[in-house]
Symmetry: C2
Subunit: 174 residues, 2 copies
């Protein structure tokens, strides 16, 4: 457990086993992509916890709500964040305890409950978002602007390749 | 909900709010990296479920066990997969129901329980791993070998930058 780059070490040996030899270059690329994402996300999670005692899903929920001054229903949050209704309910409950969000009746339809950010939630979120940006800048800070541009365009190519090869998304009729 | 590239659309608008303007290039890069990883992982999850009725954590657990013919303790699995002991217990229980793993007493210390792959688990895993490799090859198939190489080296630079800027990992004393 002494390797600071555990995820790639782990995944590279693990996930390359029994894989077709001719798929190795693509697999190595996928594992490296996964490692980079995992390392950045882990560091952001840790800093959010250390600095603001907040988890990444709560931060993402605040980011969603910050764009919706009229609030969002649980169903809307669930769809936007691609998590189940059950998970959203717990998430909202915990962040309400922190004083960041509150439940309100919809102005037009009193049967509908909306989740909206409190003033404190907005203020704290703005501070968190600023620090989050500074963290990402620091984490990726060794890349030169030219490298960043090439990486952006190769990742756009990657995204297009994955989108082409993915099964079409079946949208819920709802 | 009609955008097939939902994650980046979602994250890009969301996570760029209130972020320092001078961090925008790095934030865009991070969001694109995250989008690529999310899209690939989502597609792999879907195919594992469709083809083999298996989740990604279970597939990763099989991959771990496949390398350990003598089996692993719950604690070892937990450390290798970086998940809590409680989660590992449930994961092992579900995959044992599928007939892929079994519990064994340690040969040297009968108090220790080891989780080991069954013959069926090994055979099915080999088939899954081969298909998984072919999927990744297909998903990343539009990238030319030269593009792949540049991307690999820029991701290595990214990884090094993140590692340098990350807080050192504090290992558990245990």
């Amino acid at each position: 457990m002494s390797d600071p780059d555990l995820p790639e070490t782990l995944d590279a040996e693990t996930r390359l086993a029994h894989q077709p030899r001719d798929a190795r270059p693509e697999l190595r690329l996928w594992l490296r992509l996964l490692t980079c994402t995992t390392m950045i996300e882990r560091e952001i999670r840790r800093r959010l916890a250390d600095r603001f005692q907040i988890t990444l899903p709560r931060f993402d929920l605040l980011a969603q709500l910050d764009k919706s001054p009229e609030g969002m229903t649980l169903g809307e949050i669930s769809r936007r964040m691609m998590v189940t209704n059950g998970n959203v309910t717990g998430l909202v409950a915990r962040i309400a305890e922190q004083g960041y969000v509150e439940r309100r009746r919809d102005e037009k339809d009193g049967r509908v409950q909306r989740i909206a950010m409190t003033e404190k939630g907005h203020e704290d979120f703005v501070r968190m978002a600023r620090e989050h940006g500074a963290w990402v800048r620091e984490l990726l800070g060794d890349l030169e602007p030219g490298e960043r541009e090439v990486l952006m365009s190769l990742l756009a190519r990657t995204k297009a390749s994955v989108a082409r090869a993915s099964a079409p998304r079946v949208e819920a009729a709802e």
